[in-house]
């Protein structure tokens, strides 16, 4: 047996177990006793997550501890072995700074979103089921980030996919929701399979699935083998994090309730890919090709998401594409080796994207499940709080210097790309920043400025499927009387989120000496890099200039007074003239359809129509005829009497016995 490598200091950490299992307990209780709990289900579900958050904070000291080990390498964080299943698979929990960061977001932001959901889901007839699923998701996600081995990670990976499937299809009476849930699940499973193959390859090399063993071996893998591992791992990451070409499920996933979109499809689950790559930094650092691949795909996704964000009218889809784009940034960051930047962007993004989603949730809830921005407008007067919430979010995501957290982290990523020697990625990232500012402001202006257009006929706005806009089955059901929960239940979490959205970025201020860099000092490799040709300040200036351009264009198109005057006509024109390539999201769905589904079908047809009946069947038919003849002969032996068969069996066995006895006798 090779030496067993462990990450983290072994010990008993009751808080760690508590924070891992509390959401599961909440889920089970909500699931089993939902009907009895009635409205207490929400409070219970939130409380479970809230206590888990407290436990996470209490784990802070243990998670950041660093003790020198015998091998000269520091053991960072806390590790608790739970049980050993089969040789090579010991299950345990690992909490180091990286896991801690994710756990903080999952439980902290998760808690706020749970509280928000009490208000948002109020009156739904499956209230307890919703919280059971949400708690289950939190448990699954914690399993993913706390596992100390690849199999545990894969279990968590699969479970979050399952939870996501449950929650996207939560309103299962909407066929579109069910279709979206199915799509998400299928694409996620593609990723799961990728990771599974990666685990097979890792196990084949190191005979263990533990992170510690796999990373300790990092320098000794065969290069091609390592690239294959990274590639298959990245397939998983791409599927979960909606990277090209597996990104198509994310916009559709917006069929789920808005808190779900905020928690799962913006703040936590979709960033699992970022976590995976950051966690496997020792593997990626050993392989330039894998880094390049991930970086390029991340950058392309960022750009593609941003472009598609410009063409959407559904407020949640706009946010979904922006999520895709931002995750592209993160993936690019961790891909090229700027791990701290990528992770930082995850951290800030979790706050401001949750902020945006929850803000949009307030609007959607107030407008009775209307999601099309063309049927909004002028909401600044009626919903000033929502405007403030959305505004801070937009500022953060656009990267206005020093005003929002997004600026700092995005800057880290962009500068990181350049530092690690990828000028093209740097350029794409900068351009994307500008586009981001444009489409986010576009959403903000169309939604909040001008006149309210909710009463305008859908076709006058160029909405092609009026029956699909804002008139989902759910809305129809609750059209009449909808007893709204007190607004503060939804407003308070949003209000709390404004603080980190605006301020959290200051953590990253100061580059190498920032608390952020210090936090991860032990976690990520820091190879010596040549100085970047463009300084960080200059990058910030360029980025800011592009952002200003984006905002200006948005203002000119949607914000200025003339645009507001004939907004209805302009929106109709724009909707109708939207390039097909954009409305169809670069034909990715069609491409997948053509490349995989249709080809399989075609192949199937080929086999079915020609190969099978003519070639195979032809051969078989002839065989069959002879077999039939033989069968007629043999059939006479088939008496159907069980005992006859048994007797024949025994005679056969006896023959063998006689043969062996005789043969053995002869051999003597």
């Amino acid at each position: 047996m090779p030496v067993h490598h462990v990450m983290g200091n072994e010990g008993n950490y009751p808080y760690l177990l508590a924070l891992w299992l509390l959401p599961l307990a909440g889920a089970i209780v909500n699931w089993a006793f939902g009907p009895q709990l009635k409205s207490a289900a929400g409070a219970l579900g939130s409380a479970a997550i809230g206590v888990a958050f407290v436990a996470t904070v209490l784990m802070w000291g243990a998670a950041t501890q660093s003790v020198p080990s015998t091998g000269g390498v520091n053991l960072v964080g806390a590790h608790q072995t739970l049980f050993s299943w089969l040789p090579g698979f010991d299950f345990g929990l690992l909490m180091d700074p990286l896991s801690l960061l994710w756990a903080l977001i999952i439980t902290g932001v998760g808690f706020l979103i749970h509280v928000y959901s009490i208000g948002y889901m109020d009156g739904d007839n499956a209230f307890a089921r919703f919280f059971a699923y949400m708690n289950f998701f939190v448990f699954a996600m914690l399993t993913l980030v706390l596992s100390d081995n690849f199999v545990g990670l894969l279990i968590g990976w699969g479970l979050v996919g399952l939870a996501s499937y449950f929650l996207i299809g939560f309103w299962f009476f909407k066929p579109s929701a069910v279709a979206a849930a199915r799509k998400a699940f299928v694409l996620n499973v593609v990723g799961d399979v990728g990771i599974m193959f990666a685990i097979f390859m890792i196990f084949a090399s190191v005979h263990s699935t533990g992170f510690g063993d796999a990373f300790a071996f990092a320098g000794s893998y065969n290069t091609g083998w390592l690239f294959a591992i990274c590639l298959t791992l990245f397939i998983g990451a791409a599927a979960k994090s909606a990277q090209i070409p597996l990104q198509t499920w994310l916009p559709d996933a917006m069929e789920g309730p808005t808190p779900v979109s905020a928690l799962i499809h913006a703040a936590t689950m979709v960033t699992a890919g970022v976590y995976l790559i950051a966690r496997c930094a020792p593997l990626w650092s050993q392989n330039q090709d894998a880094q390049m691949l991930v970086g390029v795909i991340g950058a392309l996704t960022a750009l593609l998401g941003a472009i598609l964000g410009c063409a959407q009218w559904d407020i949640k889809r706009i946010l979904a594409y922006s999520t895709m784009s931002q995750i592209g940034y993160m993936i690019m960051g961790v891909g090229v080796g700027a791990y701290e930047g990528g992770v930082a962007h995850f951290f800030t993004h979790a706050f401001f994207k949750a902020q945006l989603f929850l803000g949009s949730g307030i609007i959607i809830h107030a407008l009775n499940n209307e999601q099309d921005v063309r049927r909004m407008g002028g909401l600044i007067k009626t919903m000033p709080f929502a405007f403030v919430a959305m505004l801070t979010g937009v500022i953060a995501i656009s990267g206005i210097p020093y005003l929002g957290s997004g600026f700092f982290s995005k800057d880290l990523v962009i500068q990181g790309a350049l530092q690690h020697g990828h000028p093209w990625l740097y350029a794409i990232a900068l351009i994307t920043a500008g586009i981001t500012a444009y489409y986010m402001c576009r959403m903000l202006f169309v939604t909040f400025l001008g006149q309210y257009r909710g009463n305008v006929d859908p076709s006058d706005l160029g909405i092609r499927h009026p029956e699909l806009a804002g008139t989902s089955a759910h809305a129809a059901e609750h059209d009449e009387v909808h007893a709204h929960a007190p607004a503060w239940l939804m407003n308070v979490p949003v209000g709390i989120l404004i603080v980190p959205t605006v301020l959290i970025g200051w953590l990253m201020f100061g580059g190498e000496n920032s608390p952020w860099a210090h936090f991860f000092a032990q976690q990520f490799p820091h190879p010596a890099l040549p100085a970047a040709p463009i300084s960080e300040t200059l990058t910030a200036v360029i980025a800011f200039a592009l952002v200003i351009v984006g905002i200006a264009i948005a203002w000119a198109r949607y914000g200025v007074a003339p645009a507001q005057q004939n907004a209805v006509e302009r929106l109709r024109q724009e909707s109708v003239r939207m390039p097909a390539v954009l409305t169809n999201a670069f034909y990715f769905d069609y491409a997948i359809d053509w490349l995989f589904v249709r080809t399989s079908q075609l192949l199937g047809t080929l086999f079915g129509r020609f190969l099978d009946p003519q070639v195979i069947d032809g051969a078989v038919r002839e065989t069959a005829f002879s077999a039939q003849w033989l069968g007629t002969l043999v059939r006479s032996f088939q008496t159907g009497l069980l005992r006859t068969y048994a007797f024949l069996l025994v005679i056969g066995a006896t023959c063998f016995m006689v043969y062996y006895a005789v043969a053995m006798g002869a051999a003597k």
Partner: protein, 104 residues
Amino acid sequence: MSPMAVPIADYVGLSAVIFFIGVAGVIVRRNPLIMLMSIELMFNAANLLFIAFSRAWLHNAGHIFAFLVITVAAAEAAIGLAIVVTVFRTSRHVDVDDIALMKG
């Protein structure tokens, strides 16, 4: 631990006899319950061998597999009896000679 008092070949012989009695039961009897019991006899003959060899070589793998055989035998008996009950429900009597749907 003292060596075995009885040579292993005797156990093999005993096991073979019991096994063949079981086989005879399956072939000769047409009551499915007795056939199932005969199968249990065969299982037991195999188990006896497992345990005798386990003792001879002082290795507990034989014990483990005898245990697994018992478990599987339990499953087999349950399924077999369920089939007997089902057959009885449809035809009010159980006779393996009548269950000849696979007749050629």
